[in-house]
């Protein structure tokens, strides 16, 4: 079983409770309920599962900050982050539409590990099929005694609700998501306090990505050693990798962590379409740094991508070909970030539209060489630590790396006073 997350999923179909249980579903939950919450946390720590939503924080460690015991504040909350709005990212949709009980089981186990009584699945508005699927699967789980009071006779109680958002990228940031769940504008919160001690409604809360939670049942069912054995890396497990852009075969593939970038791009995505050459890619969504030809043999795990100067991020790659304009592409990215900035802190609210406008000027042949210096400066002004949350620093990642690897393309726009890629 080398593709634990996706091997049961058939295109366009959903595994309902009976299908899921027939394939070994909810065995991980049964195993977990025989352990103490701390023991479940320990198993997940040993597996070295790291967050699949972008930041890559070790999941077991994240859980360990939640107060346990009789004097812990209650209720505690577990939230699944299904606000998949990172441009170029489409992996959680597959898990949500195809195998809802894998997520639900992962959430019950994770809730047990932190002793949370209430859970929410925070789903983006646009995932209409997923909304329908999750609602039906939740009803099945309640009916089967897998949710609600005294789950499988264990004495553990957990209620799980679906919340569908009204659309805003910043909701993917965990403290903004928490504000959104409270019915507020989704502005991020200052940390500390961290959500693990004071999150949703001021109570201890954990926010985990959908793909992260979907790993949990398998780790509990088969153990951390097995989880390490299916990986080609010190990071445990598999990762859902995706490729979009002008490749022959765009799509998603669950592969061991530690496969090479070349393997995903050439063997799985089939390489570039006829007549096009590979120029670069964003390895894990819009807010990751470009990688180029020289990086094709790197290992796709957290450390491998970091050493190459980028981040694994969401693991869904956006490919740039030689006939697409990199200035236009980065302009498109910065337009997205400028629009989706929540406006809470000044560097992000003002810096991102400024960045976008300069890129638009360059793309339209009216840029000056000094503009490149302003852009360079912006990547430092909006660097981590200068803004309230990671949105603006993330927005600077594709820009700073584009200026590094494709500076010539920016300069050509300025010298030729036009976009050389537009006829």
């Amino acid at each position: 079983m080398e593709r634990p997350l996706t091997e049961r999923i058939r295109p366009g179909e959903t595994n309902w409770l009976a299908d899921y249980q027939k394939a070994g579903g909810y065995e991980g939950l049964k195993a977990a309920l025989k352990m103490t919450p701390r023991e479940v946390q320990e198993v997940v720590k040993q597996s070295n599962l790291r967050g699949r939503g972008g930041a890559g924080f070790p999941t077991g460690l994240k859980w360990s900050f939640v107060p346990l015991g009789d004097d812990a504040p209650r209720p505690k909350y577990l939230i699944a982050n299904g606000d998949e709005m990172e441009p170029g990212t489409f992996k959680d949709r597959l898990l949500l539409e195809g195998d809802p009980h894998q997520l639900i089981e992962g959430m019950i186990i994770s809730a047990y590990a932190i002793q949370a009584e209430v859970g929410y699945i925070f789903l983006r508005w646009a995932y209409k099929k997923a909304e329908h699927v999750i609602n039906k699967a939740l009803a099945e789980a309640y009916q089967a005694g897998l949710l609600g009071k005294n789950i499988l006779g264990s004495g553990f109680n957990f209620d799980l609700y679906l919340h569908t958002s009204a659309g805003r990228y910043i909701c993917g940031e965990e403290t903004a998501l928490i504000n959104s769940l409270e019915g507020k504008r989704a502005n991020p919160r200052a940390k500390p306090p961290f959500p693990q001690t004071s999150g949703l409604f001021g109570k201890p809360s954990i926010v985990n990505n959908i793909e992260t939670l979907c790993n949990v049942p398998h780790i509990l069912h088969h153990g951390p050693d097995w989880y390490h054995s299916i990986s080609h890396s010190v990071d445990g497990g598999t990762k859902i990798f995706g490729v979009s852009g002008k490749v022959k075969n765009p799509g998603l593939w669950e592969l061991p962590l530690g496969v090479t970038l070349r393997e995903v791009l050439e063997e799985k995505a089939g390489g570039m379409r006829e007549g096009l050459k590979f120029k670069g890619l964003l390895p894990g969504g819009a807010s990751t740094d470009f990688l180029t030809e020289q990086h094709l043999d790197i290992k796709l795990d957290y450390k491998g991508v970091e050493q190459a100067g980028s981040r694994l991020g969401t693991g869904t790659m956006i490919v740039l070909d030689d006939q697409t304009c990199v200035v236009g592409m980065v302009h498109n990215l910065e337009q997205f970030f400028a629009q989706e900035s929540c406006g809470w802190c000044t560097p992000c609210r003002d810096g991102l539209p400024w960045t976008r406008n300069i890129l638009w000027t360059i793309e339209n042949g009216q840029g000056k060489m000094e503009d490149l210096e302003i852009l360079e400066g912006m990547t430092k002004t909006l660097a981590p630590g200068n803004t309230f949350c990671a949105l603006a620093p993330g927005a600077m990642e594709p820009l700073q790396s584009a200026l590094k690897y494709f500076r010539e393309d920016f300069e050509r726009h300025i010298k030729e006073k036009r976009c050389p890629w537009r006829s």
Partner: protein
């Protein structure tokens, strides 16, 4: 005035939260589902019902991309303008839609049938360019395909 049906639906959502104000986004969506958009009067009605001020409700309503504070057409087209779709031909698709419907982005056709809006990444990047019409996702868009799709909604 909120209708009995709207109130019943909002109350169903309130059950999921420890305080009723947390359900304000759902309340806005319930009203929008029934009326197409959220009017100033509806903002006041929701505020009364949830014991909030109208400004508090409106600050939430105007924050989220998919709460409409102005009337929209019978069908809403949400065209993805994010990076993968941009690479795969968003601009051509956008121009075709604008010409075909004879409106600009953010506008509604004269017959009130379609409103054309852009939306960040729809998570259909392997089927780019993509759009949603109401609740349906359509991918691998071309001019011909768009013409066929729009026919179905007329």
């Amino acid at each position: 005035m909120l209708t009995d049906k709207e109130i019943a639906e909002i109350e169903e959502h309130i059950k999921h939260y420890p305080r009723k104000q947390a359900a304000v986004i759902e309340a806005l969506k319930v009203v929008q589902a029934h009326r197409g958009y959220v009017s100033d009067e509806s903002v006041k009605d929701i505020a009364d019902f949830l014991e909030m001020t109208p400004d508090e409700v409106d600050s939430v309503a105007t924050f989220y991309n998919l709460i409409f504070r102005k009337p929209v057409g019978k069908h809403v087209i949400l065209l993805c303008d994010s990076v993968s779709c941009w690479i795969m031909g968003y601009e051509n698709v956008r121009d075709h839609l604008k010409k075909k419907l004879n409106i600009d982005l953010g506008q509604t056709t004269q017959d009130g049938e379609f409103t054309l809006l852009t939306i960040p990444c729809l998570g259909a990047c392997d089927r780019a360019p993509a759009m949603m019409v109401d609740n349906d996702l359509h991918g691998n868009l071309t001019a011909e395909k768009i013409d066929e799709i729009l026919e179905k909604y007329k």
